[in-house]
Symmetry: C2
C-alpha cells in the first residue's frame, strides 16, 4: 500500500492542499481554493466600511479550503483515506480570531455581522500600532526579559496588540470572547476537536518561550487591568511543540474533509517556517531565505543568543530541539513590481511585447549585461520600511547616483542589489551575534525563477546558495510534519532525509564581482547607518511634515 501525507498551506489569499508520497517526497497532486472573502480591508460582507489599516478575513473561508481541496486531491490522485499517514498545517501569522468556548468564531453569530472586531485579524492588519506601543512602553519600563528575544521591539502585527485593540475598542465583545486564537491553531482545533497552541505561533507572535512561558499576568494587568487574568483564560496555556501531534481527526473533521477519523494532525507552523524541513533543513547552521514580495531569513541554532533587530528567537519554533531565529526584509519582490508598474517607460513594455516576454525577463536580460558598479547607482531597499535589523517602519527608499544617462535596467538592477545588501546586513548581524551560518538556501518565487538575482545575492554575500526544489515548499514541509505526527518517521530529520530536496543548481560567488560588491556594500552600509541609525532622521521628519 502507498503511503501519503497531506500538507495544507494557508496563505494570504488562498489555501492549498498537497498530497505527498512518503516514499519519495513527490508532490503527487495539489488543489488550491481561493478565499471567497479574500482580504477585507475596505468593508465587511455586510457593506460596513472599515477604518484605515484594517485587514480582516472570514474564518468560513478557511473551512471551505478543507471542504474543497482535500476531497479534490483524494479524487484526483485516487488515494484512499486509509493511505493518509497524517496531516500538517501551516498558516499566515499572527492571524487571530475571537471564538466561543466551543470554538465557534464570534463572527458566525449574526449579532456580530457588522462588528469588525468579531472577524479574523489578518497578519497585515496594521491598526493596532498604538496598542503595540503601549505594550512596548510597559515592557521597557518594567525591564521585561522576554523583550530582548524580539530584538527589543513589538510589532503591531502581533498577538497581544491585536487583542488589546479589541479590548480598548469593544469591551463587550472582549468579554464575550472565550479564547483569542491563532487561525492555524483554530483550524487544528476544528480538525481534532482539541484546542492547542503551537510553540511556533505562540513563540514568534505571543511572547511565549519554552523556558518562561508567557509574560506574567501581572505584566498584562499593568498594561490594562482587564488583561489581568488573560493567560490561562482567554489565551490557552496548552502550548505544544510545532510539528508534534496535536491530536487525531475527529468526527466533525472527518466529515468536513472526507477523510476518516483517527488520522494524526500535527501542530501548525507559520507558513514560511514550514519551508525549512522541505529544503532539508532540520538542524542548526543552515539559513533559509524565503524570497517573495518580502523575504524571511530563518535559521536554527543550538542555544539562545540575544540578536538585535530580529523578529524573534523561539525554542522549538521551527523544529523541536532547536532555537529558531527569524529576521526579515519587508520589501523585496514588491519593490521590483512597484518599479515595473510605476517607473518603467513605455518603450520597454513595447519591446517586451514585441519579443513576447515578461517585462521582468526583459529587464533581467538587459540588467544582466551590466558590469558590477557600472551604473554608479546605490539604493536603500526601504520602500516598505525596514524590518531587520533596524525595525523601523518609518524608513523609506532611496536611490543615489542618477545621471542624465541612467537607464531603466540600471535602476532595476540597483533595486535588486539593494535587497541583496539588506540581506547581507541581516546575515552579518546573525554572525556578529554568534549565530553561525554554514550554508545558505533559498526558496520562493524569486529563488526559483530569477538566476540573475540569485547570482547577485551570492556575489554580494560571498556565499554559495542552494535552491529548494519544491515550488510548494511550505505545503511540503507541513506534509512532512504530518507524516512524523502520524508515526511514518521517527522525527523530522528522518522525514527530511527521504522527502526533502534541493535543486541541482548551486550559485557560487564570482571572485571579481565579490571584490567590487564589497566596495559597493560598504557604501550601502554607510547610507544604511546614516539614515537608519540616527545620523539623519530625514525620513521620519518627512513623514511628520506629511
Amino acid at each position: 500500500m502507498k503511503k501519503y501525507s497531506i500538507g495544507i498551506d494557508y496563505g494570504t489569499l488562498s489555501g492549498r492542499a498537497v498530497l505527498v508520497d512518503l516514499a519519495t517526497g513527490d508532490e503527487v497532486v495539489s488543489s488550491v481554493f481561493e478565499y471567497p472573502h479574500a482580504v477585507m480591508d475596505e468593508q465587511l460582507p455586510s457593506g460596513k466600511k472599515l477604518p484605515d489599516n484594517y485587514a480582516l478575513q472570514h474564518p468560513q473561508d478557511y473551512l471551505d479550503v478543507l471542504k474543497n481541496t482535500i476531497p479534490d486531491i483524494l479524487n484526483k490522485s485516487g488515494a484512499t483515506p486509509e493511505e493518509i499517514a497524517g496531516i500538517g498545517i501551516d498558516f499566515t501569522a499572527c492571524t487571530v480570531l475571537p471564538v466561543y468556548a466551543d470554538g465557534t468564531p464570534l463572527c458566525f453569530n449574526d449579532k456580530y455581522k457588522d462588528e469588525p472586531h468579531a472577524y479574523v485579524k489578518l497578519w497585515k492588519h496594521h491598526a493596532a500600532q498604538k496598542q503595540a506601543e503601549i505594550i512596548y512602553e510597559k515592557a521597557k519600563e518594567q525591564n521585561e526579559s522576554w523583550l530582548k528575544r524580539y530584538g527589543d521591539q513589538i510589532s503591531s502585527e502581533w498577538f497581544f496588540p491585536k487583542i488589546l485593540q479589541v479590548l480598548e475598542e469593544n469591551i463587550e465583545l472582549y468579554h464575550e470572547t472565550a479564547r483569542f486564537i491563532e487561525a492555524g491553531d483554530w483550524i487544528t482545533w476544528v480538525l481534532t476537536g482539541k484546542e492547542t497552541h503551537s510553540s511556533c505561533l505562540a513563540g514568534y507572535k505571543a511572547f511565549w518561550s519554552k523556558k518562561d512561558g508567557y509574560p506574567s499576568n501581572d505584566f498584562f494587568a499593568s498594561v490594562n487591568p482587564e488583561l489581568g487574568e488573560i493567560i490561562g483564560t482567554k489565551v490557552s496555556e496548552n502550548v505544544i511543540s510545532v510539528g508534534s501531534k496535536a491530536g487525531e481527526l475527529c468526527e466533525a473533521g472527518a466529515t468536513l474533509t472526507g477523510l476518516t477519523q483517527g488520522i494524526a494532525v500535527a501542530s501548525p507552523s507559520i507558513d514560511a517556517h514550514a519551508a525549512l524541513p522541505a529544503t532539508g533543513i532540520t538542524d542548526s547552521g543552515k539559513m533559509l531565505m524565503i524570497m517573495g514580495t518580502s523575504t524571511c531569513h530563518i535559521i536554527m541554532g543550538d542555544s539562545e543568543k540575544c540578536v538585535p533587530g530580529i523578529s524573534g528567537v523561539v525554542e522549538d519554533g521551527v523544529c523541536e530541539g532547536y532555537f529558531g531565529y527569524e529576521a526579515g526584509q519587508s520589501c523585496v519582490g514588491d519593490s521590483f513590481e512597484w518599479y515595473t508598474k510605476s517607473c518603467l517607460p513605455k518603450s520597454y513594455y513595447d519591446e517586451a511585447a514585441a519579443q513576447n516576454i515578461n517585462i521582468h525577463k526583459l529587464l533581467r536580460e538587459k540588467a544582466k549585461k551590466l558590469k558590477v558598479g557600472e551604473s554608479g547607482l546605490v539604493a536603500l531597499d526601504w520602500w516598505n520600511g525596514n524590518r531587520s535589523i533596524l525595525s523601523d517602519s518609518d524608513l523609506t527608499g532611496l536611490i543615489l547616483g542618477f545621471k542624465l544617462t541612467t537607464k531603466p535596467e540600471e535602476i532595476y538592477r540597483a533595486l535588486i542589489e539593494s535587497t541583496a545588501y539588506g540581506t547581507k546586513v541581516i546575515i552579518d548581524n546573525y554572525e556578529e551575534n554568534g549565530i553561525n551560518i554554514i550554508e545558505i538556501f533559498a526558496a520562493g518565487g524569486i529563488a526559483e525563477k530569477d538566476e540573475m538575482t540569485m547570482q547577485i545575492y551570492s556575489d554580494v554575500m560571498n556565499k554559495e546558495i542552494r535552491i529548494s526544489a519544491s515550488s510548494q515548499s511550505c505545503a511540503l514541509g507541513s506534509a512532512m510534519f504530518g507524516a512524523v505526527a502520524g508515526g511514518a518517521f521517527g522525527n523530522i530529520k528522518e522525514a527530511a532525509s527521504i522527502m526533502a530536496r534541493v535543486k541541482d543548481v548551486l550559485y557560487k560567488p564570482i571572485p571579481e564581482n565579490v571584490r567590487l560588491y564589497e566596495k559597493l556594500y560598504n557604501e550601502y552600509k554607510i547610507l544604511h547607518d546614516y539614515f537608519g541609525k540616527g545620523g539623519n532622521d530625514i525620513m521620519k521628519r518627512l513623514k511628520e511634515i506629511k
Copy 2:
C-alpha cells in the same frame, strides 16, 4: 521712416535673426537656420571618428546663418537696409576656434579637414578636463588673485583649457594658429572686418577683468613655456565693453547679409546674458533666471564681491558700468525630460495620448493636485553634476522617500522642487555674500510655459517672480545692444525703457506653502551639504568604482 534693429542669437543647434521695431520693441519677424553640421560629437564631416567628450562645430554654419536669415527677415518684413539702426549678436560660449591672421578658420584649409583641433570647440566640449586641472593647480600654487572671481574653480569648458588642449595635442596646428577666438567675436570680425574681444566673453570665459586684464604671460609660461607670449599674440588684447560698438558693417559683411555697409555692430554677449536687458534689467539688484535644459542666474551689482561657487563675476560683463555675476544649475529641464523618457510608465503615455495632450502637461495636471510635502520625497538635483555653488561635476542625483505607494507625478514634482531648492541655495549664497537681490525675473521655456513650476519656485524662495514677455529674449536683448551701438538710444537703459517688457503675470508666494517648503528646504540643505561638502563622498567613490 520706421527704425529697426537686428538681433542675432547663435544657439547650440541653430541661429536665429529677429527684426525688432525700435519704437515699440515688437519682434516684427524672425528667421531660424539650423546648423547643417549641428554638433559634431562622434565624427568629422570627413567621417573621421572623434574621441569621447568632444563637441565640435563647423564655422561655415555660422556664416550660413547670416546668409539665410538676414535676407529672409528683410524679405518677410519689407524692411529696407536703410531702416536698420544696428546689429547685435549673442553666442554660446566658450565656443572657440583657431583662425589665420586674416580671420579664416584653420578648418577651411583643406589640409586640416581631418584634424579635430582645427574646428570650433563648442561650449560643451568636455575633453579639456585635464588641462583645466593643470591650469587650476598652477593658479592655486601661485595664489593668482583672479581665481576667486570664478568661485575658486576652472571649468574644462573655458577658453584657456581648450587652447592648452590644442597645444598639448597638436603643437604644429597651435603654431600655425594666428588667433584663438570666441565664435561670437569671430562672427563680429566677419561682419565688421575688425577683430575685437567682448568684455562679456573675455571676462566670463578667459579670466580677463577690466581692472587687471588677463593673467600675466608669466603665469601662462609657468603652465606651459609655449604659452609664454600668448596674450597679445594668439589672444587679442583688444577687449571692448559688451554692447559697445565693435565696428560697422564692412563690404564683405554687407555682401553676406544683403545689408548695406556702415550699419553699427555691437560687441557680442553670451546668449543667456542678452536676456537681461530684454527683460528690462539694466542695473543692479534684479536677478534673472534663464530656465531651460539648465538654468543661469545672472544679476548685476555695483561693486566686485567675492562670491564662492559662482561661475564668475565680470565688470562690464552684462551691461557697461556694472559687475555681472553669473551662477548656474547644470540640469533643470534636462532632468524633467530624462524622467519622462526613462521613468514614466506606459499608462501615463496612454492617458496623455487619450487626452491628446503633451506628457509634461499631463504630469503637471496630476502633480498640481498634490499638497506640499504630501509625497514624502526629497531629491538632489544633480543629474548633471552641480555647477553652483558646489562646482562639482562628479556629483549625481538622488531621490529619497520612496514607498510602495509612490506615484510618478510625485517623483516628477520632487524633481521640480529639487531644482527650486537648488536655486534657493544659489540666491541665499548671493545674499550671504553681499549681493542684494531686490527682484527676481525668469525667462526661457519653463518660465513661459510652466505655471506650476514657477509657483513652486516662488513658494520655495518666498519671493515674487516676474516673467519675461519675449520668447526670444536673447535675440531681443541683442537687438537692443545693436540699437544702442547704432545710436538710436543713448544707452541700454534707455533702450530697455522702450523695448523691454515683462508679462502681466506675477507669481506670489503662498504663505502656507512657504511655511512647508521652508521645512523641506532644510531637509534638502542637510542632504546637499552632507553629499556635496565632504560629509559623505559616496558619489565620487561610486565614479571611481565605475
